[in-house]
């Protein structure tokens, strides 16, 4: 193994622990899905009820560890960019193997899925007979393979990085000249990009005003990629104050006062509750109105924060980049 950095070892070890727990939860869930009978008073049913607590606890542990670990993972990639020739930030390290980009996407998706699962579990626990038990654990059976794929991609990625091969830096990765989906978005006319971005935000706010959780969930679901792509295409250049520096990772570095962490936290918070509110309403949980409000607050904070940079730049310099 060419990259025996302590950070990589730490990430891999924690992955190992998470994998152990996730597999345990999977086996128990499988049994619960197959054998659960809420009317039964057999010892098996008692055991299953107790094991359901273990599964929920384990999934909560995975989620609450995955959240900070995701940040640590990015930090690790940032560190690796020091030893990979060409890489200036995590972006270069991510693209050092073909697995990097899918790994990132899957990591984000899994955070949402584990979070939504926990939200559903919380709601279900609010009913005397836990009516969603079987559905809930069935859902976990479907999430688990995604988790396994994520772990596998992570192993392939870390072991696949070759420190002697020169990788691209974010400057070329996200430039309009390159032909990738990201670059295609970067090269879209600015009014289209910003129109989609602010339009979706407006839609989310409207869904909150009209108390329409399904609309809010859809708007927020689309808002995640659109927000990240518009950050790459437009807003990040104002954070860096460099017209050709499009990068979603350099934001996380000390040079920019770690502002990226705050941005992504707001974005996750807002979009997560936007989707969770719909789930809550579907499950008959009254708290969904509150969650919808959380979502709008999170989305608003994100939009306000990213919009601050170009506006401040314009006010200071009187021109746009």
């Amino acid at each position: 193994m060419t990259l025996l950095s302590p950070e990589v070892i730490a990430v891999l070890m924690l992955d190992g622990i998470l994998f152990f727990f996730a597999s345990l939860a999977f086996l128990l869930s499988l049994r619960i899905v197959l054998r659960w009978d809420e009317r039964a008073t057999t010892p098996l049913q008692y055991t299953l009820q107790k094991q359901a607590y273990l599964v929920a606890t384990v999934i909560a542990f995975i989620f609450y560890l995955k959240l900070p670990l995701f940040l640590f993972f990015i930090y690790t990639l940032d560190l690796l960019s020091n030893i990979l020739p060409g890489a200036m930030c995590a972006a270069g390290v991510t693209t050092a193997t073909v697995y990097g980009m899918p790994l990132f996407g899957l990591k984000i998706a899994n955070l949402y899925l584990f979070g939504l699962w926990l939200a559903a579990h919380r709601i279900d626990m609010g009913y005397p007979t836990m009516p969603y038990t079987r559905v809930k654990f069935l859902a976990y059976l479907l999430i688990f393979p995604l988790f396994v794929v994520e772990e596998a991609l992570e192993l392939l990625h870390f072991f696949g990085i070759n420190p002697h091969v020169i990788v691209s830096c974010c400057g070329t990765l996200f430039s309009a000249a390159k032909s990738s989906a990201v670059s295609a978005f970067v090269s879209l006319p600015l009014p289209v990009t910003l129109g989609t971005f602010y339009g979706l935000f407006g839609l989310a706010v409207w869904a909150w005003r009209k108390q329409r959780p399904l609309l809010s969930a859809l708007a927020n679901l689309l808002f995640v990629p659109v927000a990240i792509l518009s950050l790459i295409a437009f807003f990040s250049t104002y954070v860096y104050e460099m017209p050709h520096h499009h990068c979603p990772f350099c934001l996380l570095q000390a040079d920019y006062r770690f502002v990226g962490y705050l941005m992504y936290a707001f974005l996750f918070f807002g979009t997560f509750f936007g989707m969770a509110a719909w789930l809550a309403k579907r499950m008959g949980y009254e708290g969904w109105r509150k969650w919808l409000l959380f979502s709008v607050i999170g989305d608003f904070l994100y939009v306000a924060l990213v919009s601050y940079y170009p506006i401040a730049f314009y006010l200071k310099n009187g021109v746009w980049l």
């Binding site: 809420e38 009317r39 008073t41 057999t42 010892p43 008692y46 009820q49 107790k50 607590y53 626990m125 009913y127 005397p128 007979t129 836990m130």
Partner: protein, 231 residues
């Protein structure tokens, strides 16, 4: 002697079989049915092993019946999930255990507030509620004494105070006088009278003859080998 109006506790055709289908299968209760009205005092009597304790734990939703149903204040508590059963115990049930079951390393005050800890109460509210029951049962002067240093009578009063701190409508007592001398047993009886006056529904499982044929008792239910006598 059943009062008019709402039944507080309804036990409907309840059976409890342990280790069903195994060689050591044991039927603890068989087809037990009765109802307890609000504010009633009911004595469950019978020799040890007759199923009294099992019946209490079914009413407290600590266990689930193999057949039948327990309904408390119109709610099917025997079908509750573990969490709801716990919530139900916390809000509706005051438990006085055999041997009191205090936590020896905690003080009297700490023992008394344990049922309230999972609730969202601030320190003031906790103190106020504990103070009230400690004064009622004359244990306030020992508030900071670890439970292991208490005399039998003090332990008894602490246990009763703990059972009443959440102001539950139902009191369940399991052999409350099994380890008490005659004086303390009579003292307990007077506390029971006090509870009844406050309108609590009280169910006492005991084989102590002291509780038989009391004037304040609304009903006696006799169990033998898991079956109701005379049923």
């Amino acid at each position: 002697m059943q009062k008019e109006g709402l039944n507080m506790v309804e036990v409907k055709g309840v059976s409890k079989v342990f280790n069903a289908g195994r060689p050591n299968e044991m039927t603890a209760l068989e087809d037990v049915s009765f109802a307890v009205g609000e504010g009633e005092l009911v004595i469950l009597k019978g020799p040890s092993g007759s199923g009294k304790s099992t019946l209490l734990s079914l009413i407290a939703a600590l266990q689930k019946p193999t057949r039948g149903e327990v309904v408390v204040a119109s709610e099917p508590v025997s079908r509750f999930s573990e969490d709801f059963a716990a919530l139900y115990r916390r809000r509706k049930i005051g438990f006085v255990f055999q041997k009191f079951n205090l936590i020896p390393s905690l003080s009297v005050y700490e023992n008394i507030i344990t049922p309230l800890l999972p609730e969202k109460l601030d320190e003031e509210a906790l103190k106020e509620r504990a103070q009230r029951v400690m004064e009622t049962f004359a244990i306030a002067h020992k508030a900071n004494e670890p439970a292991r240093n208490l005399s039998g009578g003090e332990q008894q009063r602490t246990a009763i105070a703990r059972a009443l701190v959440n102001d539950p409508p139902i009191i369940l007592a399991d052999e409350p006088t099994a380890n008490l001398d005659a004086d303390l047993s009579h003292a307990f009886l007077s506390y029971v009278g006090q509870m009844k006056e406050e309108g609590k529904t009280v169910i006492i499982a005991t084989h102590d003859p002291l509780f038989f044929d009391l004037a304040i008792t609304d009903r006696e239910i006799a169990l033998r080998n898991g079956k109701m006598e005379g049923a």
